[in-house]
């Protein structure tokens, strides 16, 4: 046929433009054998995930609200899996079954099928309704107000630590990064920020909630199992975002009451020399003590060392940012350190609460947690740091 400039076409040969097989037969059959193993490999990988046990599994929730969400998630997940299997099968069947046979002509030039298209428009709508109805029910249930006997806790997000207040207590308990709550009782958090956006998330408990300045968000959960749970900030908040963790310690009601009473008392060593036999200012002696930090070298219990540490902390730069009840340290910039000796971790859940870690932190916070707003104290000698660690460890 005469070629016309600009309007030429060439029809492609069924085997491609070059008119011959694109790869020799031997290579293709070997490749085909390998490819047929791939789905099995993929399945093995996917199923192996069932054995995965991370520390903060959201599919093993430890709160009532978390369990509610998990039921909904299970519904959505299995529905999605069924749809996945069916649709991918439709795709793979079509691809495998209708491969071009050599010498085949043009297939039937079908433009559509109204009935089929109607079905596959309506079926997804139905499936989505199956997801939507329990979703809306759960949204409404989650929005119900907290019961009257709920524990109220106010959380203020800072760069890069969590301030924790118990506004219903008198005197008010103020602590940081470690949140004690009683089991089987609803706790309602009021969340706000002192600076930028953060998000409060304890995966084992369920939902997360964002934390903003000039805005009060609420989150509640009812823990069902005592234990020590990991939490973290979940909204990029700056350099130290990755280090901004927390711990939620769920205790029996009795332990929780005991912990609260202890928190409301000034530590024995806060303002004066430690005298183990001194009577507690008020209330009965707690019978059960909250989780103990790692046992430490007895040298840190030396009263003289503690006294030296007290002077350095309370009369030094520390008091400008930190509060220690019963002393002149009334700074509000950094975490409240009144009962810091009790906590299982320091530095927003990043370090263990051991004297060595305390010393490492005080000496140069940026080494441990880049972006930390606490300045370094290179002028403290090793002896000074030991004393400070002793004093802070004693604040129980």
């Amino acid at each position: 046929m005469p070629a016309k400039e600009g309007t030429e076409t060439t029809r492609s040969h069924p085997r491609g433009a070059r008119g011959h097989e694109w790869a020799p037969v031997a290579w293709r059959s070997w490749a085909r054998r390998v490819m047929s193993l791939l789905p099995l490999l993929a399945l093995a990988v996917i199923l192996s995930a069932c054995t995965f046990k991370g520390e903060a599994m959201t599919i093993d929730p430890k709160s009532l609200e978390g369990k509610d969400i998990h039921s909904l998630y299970a519904l959505v997940f299995w529905l999605a899996t069924a749809v996945f299997i069916i649709v991918e099968f439709m795709l793979f069947y079509s691809v495998v079954r209708f491969r071009r046979r050599p010498g085949a002509g043009l297939p039937a030039q079908i433009h559509g099928n109204n009935r089929v298209e109607a079905v596959w428009t309506i079926v997804p709508i139905v499936l989505l309704l199956i997801v939507a109805v329990p979703t809306i029910r759960l949204i409404i249930r989650e929005a119900s107000p907290a019961p009257a006997n709920a524990t109220h806790i106010k959380i203020i997000g800072h760069q890069f630590w969590w301030e924790v207040q118990y506004p219903d207590t008198k005197p008010e308990i103020v602590t940081a990064n470690e949140i004690h709550i009683p089991v089987n009782q609803t706790v309602e958090f009021e969340l706000t920020s002192a600076d930028v956006q953060h998000a409060f998330w304890v995966p084992a408990m369920g939902s997360k909630m964002d934390v903003y300045p000039n805005r009060l968000n609420r989150l509640k959960f009812t823990p069902t199992e005592p234990g020590d749970y990991f939490g973290q900030c979940s909204e990029l908040c700056g350099e130290g975002h990755g280090f901004m963790k927390m711990r939620v310690i769920v205790q029996s009601s009795g332990d929780f009451q005991a912990w609260m009473m202890q928190q409301q008392q000034v530590p024995l060593t806060a303002a004066g020399p430690a005298t183990p036999t001194a009577a507690r200012p008020s209330g009965p002696t707690p019978t059960l003590v909250p989780p103990t930090p790692k046992p430490h070298d007895p040298k840190y219990d030396d009263p003289a060392l503690i006294a030296k540490g007290r002077t350095l902390v309370v009369n030094g730069a520390c008091a400008g940012c930190h509060t220690i009840d019963g002393t002149n340290a009334k700074g509000k910039v950094g975490p409240n350190l009144t009962h810091v000796g009790d906590r299982t971790t320091i530095v927003a859940g990043w370090l263990d609460n051991t004297p060595d870690d305390i010393m490492k932190w005080v000496h140069n916070p940026q080494d441990v947690k880049p972006g930390a707003l606490m300045p370094a104290f290179p002028n403290f000698s090793q002896d000074d740091l030991t004393a400070i660690a002793a004093y802070l460890t004693s604040l129980r």
């Binding site: 649709v87 043009l106 596959w120 949204i139 929005a143």
Partner: protein, 624 residues
């Protein structure tokens, strides 16, 4: 046409045309050259964004890793996303709009060729400015979404966020200019007989994507302007301490941001709708439904934005509304997937590399879509938001979706752009390595999200149990990088030694396959008259039938008899789009320079002058 009796002054003469040389490229207004430049730069930025991703994966590969410090890490995470979205995926789609749309509608160029060049240079300069921030250690590091108050002057005092703002504003100007251009082109410049319902699907998705751009980008422009003013002129639009709603930024950003993700995926949908019918040798199943679904997606896209904000405490009523609208938008998306499967079913499939990439797209997009539906339920989303589950979802739809489709498009249209075929064996190896690498990288991220690992964390401690799957994902990332490398090698090989492609190596259905590869500068020697959808197929089949019956040969494509349309009058090169781009870049670029006239940067004032002069000469330069 008026004759010019006297030569215009030298300064406003149009540049001398030349087939090659740097000036011919700098002053080009040819949509094909502009498409090649967009594609080349987009691919470069894709590799740069990929490098960012490799650094992120190396840092996340093990617990307590000290490879990258947190500030740098935040920079890599932010720039990975910003580069990929605004400087790789979007421009690569625009490259295809540029090259392919005029060919598919039978036009000789776009409606506003100089505006097209202006979009190109503005994109190039804007992305260069944004990327140059790395050189002074001031790369944006507050997330690709730049939430306030972190991006305020108080909490991000350095130039990082300023680079982010100005880069995006410049890119926004480029996008808006391009959007107007393609919208008018498709409405006004179709060949005679090409009604909208005979438009190829790629052109449908192009026009709808450009409508989304026109409506969504101005919202982002406003948000960025408010942030810029807060940072430089002391306004308090976003300052929570002065009473601003801390969620204002998020609402504005996501009203733009959600249509933005549809801007990213719709061109991919169009590409798949082109490729699958050609390689199945049967028409797209349910063309009308596909068009309607695309329009529905675009319309609904503006009503789902707060599903990015389910954990911000909007309340049960808002959460319910946006949950329902999000689930609703899944319906037209699902319809498209079924229509693609319907196209394959009953066909005669030739599984060449473009078809493989297209089928891979459908397979991966199903997964990404299903995880997206999970996120549409606010209680479930309160577990998944801001965790690696979302990272898995976005990469399944953006890499397994958009990027696989763009690779399909590259393999499909490479013969048209260059006149040579890619090596098919290497292309198939690229595809399989990419599929394996991609799934090894991103599937485990679902597990990590379920295990409670949040996003954008610069480091994670030992004892979380996240180490293993992170290591797997890091390994997968390097497999992905290797597959991209294979593609690059294939391109270099094919450019030098690939077999000649001819006009129509794939037995295509649309008009671009009726002209030589690569097309001459005027595209069509004779503008065709279009009588149906899949015009080229219909004509070729009729041709074959005529030949079988022994009837005399006819023109493969009927020609429009209108002599006015058949005139070949091509737009001339011009300096002024480049000059105007320089002006725009100066206006915004001033905000990272220290020299100020009052509160306004000196460079910005100079830029206004440059822009004004450029527009004046642009408007008055002679036609010939």
């Amino acid at each position: 046409m008026a004759t010019i009796t006297q030569a215009p002054p030298r300064v406003i003469r149009r540049p001398v045309e030349a087939p090659s040389g740097i000036w011919s490229w700098l002053t080009t207004v040819d949509h094909k050259r502009i498409g090649i430049l967009y594609g080349a730069f987009a691919f470069f930025y894709f590799c740069l964004g990929g490098f960012d991703a490799l650094v992120v994966r190396l840092q996340m590969g093990k617990a307590d890793n000290l490879l990258v410090d947190p500030n740098r890490y935040n920079g890599f995470v932010t720039m990975h996303a910003t580069t990929m979205i605004f400087m790789a995926l979007m421009p690569m789609s625009v490259a295809f709009f540029n090259y392919i749309v005029p060919l598919q509608i039978g036009a000789r160029d776009v409606a506003f060729p100089r505006l097209n060049a202006f979009s190109l240079w503005t994109f190039i300069l804007g992305s260069a400015i944004m990327t140059s921030s790395w050189l002074i250690g001031a790369e944006p590091d507050a997330g690709w979404y730049g939430y306030s108050p972190l991006t305020s002057k108080e909490y991000s005092p350095g130039l990082n966020t300023d680079f982010w703002i100005i880069g995006l504003q410049i890119l926004g100007v480029a996008t808006l200019a391009g959007a107007i251009n393609f919208f008018v082109t498709i409405i006004n410049m179709r060949a005679p007989g090409m009604s909208l319902m005979r438009l190829p699907m790629f052109c449908w998705t192009t026009i709808i994507t450009n409508v989304l751009m026109l409506l969504a980008f101005p919202v982002f422009t406003i948000a960025l302007t408010e942030l810029l003013f807060d940072r430089h002129f002391g306004t308090t639009f976003l300052d929570a301490t002065k009473g601003a709603d801390p969620l204002l930024w998020q609402h504005l950003f996501w009203i733009f941001g959600h249509p933005e993700v549809y801007i990213l995926i719709l061109p991919a949908f169009g590409v798949i709708s082109e490729i699958l019918p050609v390689f199945a040798r049967k028409p797209l199943f349910g063309y009308a439904a596909m068009v309607l679904a695309t329009v529905a997606i675009a319309f609904l896209a503006f009503g789902v934005w707060a599903h990015h904000m389910f954990t911000t405490g909007l309340g049960p009523v808002a959460n319910t509304f946006f949950s329902l609208s999000t689930m609703l938008i899944a319906v037209p998306t699902g319809v498209k997937i079924f229509n693609w499967i319907g196209t394959l079913y009953g066909g005669s499939l030739d599984l060449k590399s473009p078809a493989l990439f297209a089928i891979g797209f459908v397979a991966m997009f199903i997964i990404g879509g299903l995880s997206g539906v999970m996120h549409g339920s606010p209680p479930v989303d309160s577990l998944q938001a801001d965790s690696y589950f979302i990272v898995a979802h976005i990469h399944y739809v953006l890499f397994g979706g958009t990027m696989l489709a763009l690779f399909a498009a590259l393999h499909y249209w490479f013969p048209k752009f260059t006149g040579r075929m890619l090596n098919e064996r290497l292309a198939q190896a690229t595809f399989w390595l990419m599929m394996i690498g991609f799934n090894v990288t991103f599937f485990p991220m679902h597990f990590l999200g379920i295990a409670g690992m949040p996003r954008r964390m610069s480091i994670y401690p030992t004892g979380t149990g996240w180490d293993f799957w992170n290591l797997v994902a890091t390994t997968g990332a390097f497999l992905l990088a290797a597959s991209v490398w294979l593609f690059v090698m294939n391109v270099f090989y094919a450019l030098r030694r690939g077999p000649i492609a001819g006009n129509d190596p794939w037995d295509g259905a649309t008009l671009e396959w009726a002209i030589p590869s690569p097309p001459p500068v005027y595209n069509f020697a004779k503008v065709p008259y279009v009588t149906s959808r899949d015009a080229l197929w219909v004509e070729k089949r009729a041709d074959e039938a005529a030949a079988k019956l022994g009837l005399p040969a006819r023109e493969p494509l009927p020609i429009s008899p209108d002599p006015y349309i058949q005139r070949i009058h091509m737009p001339r090169n011009s300096y002024w789009p480049l000059a105007a781009s320089i002006g725009v870049s100066m206006i915004f670029g001033g905000f990272v320079t220290p020299f100020k006239f009052g509160p306004i940067p000196v460079l910005s004032l100079l830029g206004i002058a440059v822009l004004a002069i450029s527009i004046y000469f642009w408007s008055y330069e002679p036609v010939d």
